[in-house]
C-alpha cells in the first residue's frame, strides 16, 4: 500500500478513537448542543480522512469532489466549534458571576442578620442597665435614652427625643462647667469622667451623680454622637460618709482612751500597728517593722512566758478574750507597762486562728500609783509596828541602862546588859529610820551653801574611806547659788549615797563628787568606780526593804528618795554591771515650799 494511504488510515483510526472517547465522556458538563457540534466536526474529519484513505490507497478516486466539499465543511465546522466554545465560556462566566452574586447576597443577608442581632443584644443591655444612658447628636439634642434615664429623671421618651439637653426636665443639665465639657467633646474629640453633680429630683429626691461622656462615631453614615452615662452614687456617698463618721468616732474614742491599735495576721505574722501604738513606745510608725517579731523584740523577757500563756489560751479558745499586763521596751531604753487586750476575730477554713486585733494602753503611771499605794500601806504598817515596838523597847533600854548604873558584881551579867542596851539602841535606830520612811518629818528650811554642806559630810568619812583605799575627788563649781533645804536631811542623803558608793568598791577606788548648776537646778553627781548594778536592781533600788547587802535594812535609799522628793528634787541612778554607778541629785535653786513627801501622790 502507498505510504500516504497508510498515514491516512492512521489518521482515520485516530479520529475514530477520538469519537469513541467522546462517546464515553458524553455525560460531561459540556452543553449537549456543543457536544453534538463537536461530534459533527469529528464525523466530518473522520469522513475526510476516509476519502483521503480511499483515494491514496488506490481503492477509488470517485470521492475526490466529496473530499473537497467535506474539507471545506471541516474548516467551517472548526470555526463553529471554536465559536461555540467561546460562547460556552461566556455562559460559564455569567453563571459564575451569578453564583458569586448569590453567595454575596446570602453573605450580606447573614451579615445584616448579625448586625441586627448585635443591635438587639446591645439594646437589651442598654435597656436593662440600671444606670441612665443618654445619646446626643452633634447639636446636643437627645437622640435616644434608656428606660432608666426616663424613669430616673421623670421625663417621657416622646418629650425628650429631639430636645436640647439643657432644656430637659427642670434644666438639670444647664450647668456652666458641664456645658463647657459637653461642647468640647466633638470639636476636640475629648471625653470626661466622674463629673459629679447633685440633682434635686421630684421623683426620688436629692441625688448625687457621676457623669461620664465620650464621643461615638458611626462609620456607616459618618455621624458623630455623644454617649452620656450617669451613675447614681448617692447610696455609695452615704455609705462612705457613714463609714467616715464611724471611723472618726472610733478614732476619737481611741484617742480619748489613749489606746494604740494592733491587728495581727496569725498565719503570716504580719502585725499592723497604728500611730499611737508606735508613739506610745517613742517610735514613729515608719520606724517599726509591721511584724509579730517587732512586738516580741519589745516584750520584757521576764513577762514573755506569762503573756504567751495568756495569748495561747485565747487562741486555743479557752478564754473569751486576751488581756494581760506586761512591759515593753521604749525607744529610750525604758520599760513601759502596757495593758494589752485583744480578741480573735477570724478563723481560716480549717478553723485555725487567722486574725486577732486589739488595743494597747500605757498603764505605767497607774502601776507607779499602785506601787506608791502599796508603799503607803506598808508605811502605815511600819509606823504602827514601830509605835507598838518602840514603847517596850524604851523600857528595855531604860532598864538595861539603869541596871548598868548600879553595882553589878557579875561581869557576865554586866556584859549581857551592855549588849541588851546596844542592841536596843540599834533597834531604836531602825525604828527611827522606819518612821522617817513612813512619815517623814517636816524639815527646817534654810539657805545653804551646798559645797560647804557636802564638805561637812566628807570631812567625817574621808579618813575612814582613805583607810579602806577609796579616795574622794571633788569637782565643785564655785559661786553657786544657795539652796533652800533641810540641811540635816540632805546631809543624811549625802552620807547614805557616799556610804553605798564606798561599799560598792572592793579594794581601791575613787568617788568623784561633781557639783554644778543645770538650768533651775543644782546638780550633784556621785560617781564611783564600784561594781555597778544591773537594770533590774536599779528598777527596785527605791523599794523599801530591798537590799543587796547582807546587813542592810533596805530603807536607806527609800528614805533618801522621800527626802529629795520632799525638796521637789530628783534622785536618779545610772549604772552598768562592772562599770560603776553614778547617783545624781537635782535640787531646785528657787526657794520652794518644803513638802512632806506623800508617797500616795506618786
Amino acid at each position: 500500500m502507498n505510504p500516504v494511504g497508510v498515514i491516512d488510515l492512521l489518521s482515520f483510526l485516530t479520529i475514530l478513537v477520538a469519537v469513541i472517547i467522546l462517546w464515553n465522556g458524553w455525560k460531561c458538563a459540556l452543553r449537549r448542543d456543543i457536544k453534538l457540534l463537536f461530534a459533527g466536526l469529528l464525523i466530518f474529519i473522520l469522513s475526510y480522512n476516509l476519502c483521503l484513505f480511499l483515494e491514496w490507497s488506490g481503492i477509488t478516486k470517485a470521492l475526490d469532489t466529496l473530499e473537497d466539499f467535506i474539507g471545506t465543511l471541516v474548516l467551517m465546522l472548526w470555526a463553529f466549534v471554536l465559536y461555540a466554545f467561546l460562547q460556552e465560556m461566556t455562559v460559564r462566566d455569567l453563571h459564575q458571576s451569578a453564583e458569586h452574586l448569590r453567595v454575596e447576597v446570602i453573605e450580606r443577608k447573614r451579615a445584616e442578620q448579625l448586625i441586627q442581632d448585635a443591635r438587639t443584644y446591645a439594646e437589651s443591655i442598654v435597656e436593662t442597665m440600671r444606670e441612665p444612658l443618654l445619646v446626643l447628636d452633634a447639636n446636643l439634642r437627645v437622640i435616644s435614652a434608656n428606660r432608666s434615664f426616663y424613669r430616673t429623671f421623670g421625663v417621657a421618651a416622646e418629650e425628650a427625643k429631639g430636645q436640647f439637653i439643657y432644656e430637659l426636665g427642670n434644666r438639670y443639665w444647664d450647668i456652666p462647667k458641664l456645658r463647657e465639657l459637653l461642647e468640647e467633646i466633638l470639636p476636640k474629640n475629648t471625653s470626661f469622667e466622674n463629673f459629679e453633680v447633685e440633682y434635686d429630683l421630684p421623683t426620688i429626691g436629692r441625688r448625687a451623680m457621676l457623669l461620664n461622656a465620650r464621643r461615638i462615631y458611626r462609620e456607616g453614615n459618618k455621624t458623630q454622637m455623644i454617649l452620656l452615662a450617669i451613675e447614681d452614687i448617692t447610696e455609695r456617698k452615704r455609705a462612705e460618709e457613714a463609714l467616715r463618721e464611724s471611723k472618726q468616732r472610733l478614732e476619737l474614742a481611741l484617742r480619748g482612751a489613749d489606746l494604740g491599735l494592733w491587728d495581727w495576721n496569725v498565719q503570716t505574722g504580719e502585725l499592723i500597728f497604728d500611730q499611737r501604738w508606735a508613739n506610745m513606745l517613742g517610735y514613729s510608725l515608719e520606724e517599726i517593722e509591721p511584724h509579730i517579731r517587732t512586738w516580741k523584740k519589745f516584750v520584757h523577757p521576764d513577762d514573755m512566758p506569762g503573756v504567751m500563756e495568756v495569748l495561747n489560751a485565747h487562741l486555743a479558745g479557752k478564754t473569751p478574750f486576751y488581756e494581760t499586763e506586761y512591759r515593753l521596751l521604749t525607744k529610750s531604753g525604758e520599760w513601759k507597762w502596757i495593758l494589752g487586750r485583744g480578741r480573735l476575730l477570724e478563723w481560716d477554713k480549717d478553723g485555725k486562728p487567722l486574725r486577732v486585733a486589739g488595743t494597747h494602753l500605757d498603764i505605767t503611771e497607774r502601776k507607779k500609783v499602785e506601787k506608791m499605794q502599796r508603799l503607803v500601806q506598808l508605811g502605815k504598817l511600819v509606823a504602827n509596828i514601830a509605835h507598838e515596838v518602840n514603847n517596850p523597847l524604851m523600857i528595855i533600854s531604860g532598864r538595861a541602862q539603869f541596871s548598868l548604873m548600879e553595882e553589878v558584881e557579875s561581869e557576865e551579867i554586866k556584859k549581857n546588859l551592855q549588849i541588851i542596851f546596844e542592841q536596843t539602841q540599834r533597834a531604836k535606830d531602825i525604828i527611827q529610820r522606819s518612821l522617817r520612811f513612813s512619815k517623814p518629818t517636816k524639815g527646817e528650811l534654810k539657805q545653804v551653801d551646798i559645797n560647804r554642806s557636802i564638805e561637812e559630810v566628807t570631812g567625817i568619812i574621808e579618813h575612814q574611806f582613805k583607810l579602806g583605799g577609796v579616795k574622794i575627788k571633788r569637782n565643785y563649781a564655785q559661786n553657786l547659788p544657795f539652796v533652800s533645804i533641810d540641811e540635816k536631811q540632805i546631809q543624811e542623803v549625802f552620807m547614805n549615797i557616799l556610804t553605798n558608793a564606798y561599799d560598792a568598791i572592793s579594794g581601791e577606788g575613787i568617788i568623784e563628787i561633781t557639783i554644778s548648776c543645770e538650768k533651775d537646778f543644782l546638780r550633784i553627781d556621785f560617781k564611783d568606780t564600784g561594781k555597778g548594778m544591773s537594770k533590774e536592781i536599779i528598777d527596785k533600788i527605791f523599794d523599801p526593804f530591798f537590799t543587796t547587802k547582807e546587813k542592810g535594812t533596805g530603807l536607806g535609799l527609800s528614805v533618801c528618795y522621800g527626802i529629795i522628793k520632799a525638796h521637789n528634787g530628783e534622785l536618779k541612778f545610772q549604772s552598768l554591771p562592772g562599770q560603776g554607778t553614778t547617783a545624781t541629785i537635782l535640787l531646785p535653786i528657787k526657794e520652794t515650799k518644803h513638802n512632806v513627801y506623800d508617797f500616795s501622790s506618786g
Binding site: T14, I15, W26, C28, N49, L52, L82
Partner: protein, 91 residues
C-alpha cells in the same frame, strides 16, 4: 497544478486563524486549549501545503500534507482524551 477549491479552503482556514488570534485570550481558558488550537494549526498547515504542492516539491509537500492531517488527528484525539476521557476534564 493549482486547484481553486484548495485555495478557497486555505483562505477560509486563514479566516479561522484570524478568528482564533482575535479571541486567543478567551480560547486560552478552554481546558487543554493549547492541544486543540495546535490541532487546528497543524490541519491548516496541511491545507496550505496542499496549495503549495501545486507549485513545487509536489511529492514531498503532499507527503507532509498527509503527515499534518495525521498529526492534527492525533492532537484532536489527545484533546478528546484530556477533556472527555478524564473525570476532571470538562467541569
Amino acid at each position: 497544478m493549482i486547484q481553486e477549491n484548495e485555495v478557497v479552503t486555505a483562505l477560509l482556514g486563514i479566516g479561522v486563524l484570524i478568528f482564533i488570534i482575535a479571541n486567543r485570550l478567551q480560547l486560552k481558558r478552554l481546558p487543554a486549549s493549547g492541544i486543540l488550537i495546535a490541532g487546528f494549526y497543524v490541519l491548516l498547515t496541511g491545507w496550505i501545503l496542499t496549495v503549495l504542492e501545486g507549485f513545487f516539491l509536489g511529492k514531498l509537500l503532499n507527503f507532509l500534507e498527509h503527515i499534518c492531517y495525521a498529526g492534527s488527528a492525533a492532537l484532536v484525539a489527545a484533546w478528546c482524551w484530556k477533556v472527555f476521557g478524564k473525570k476532571e476534564g470538562w467541569r
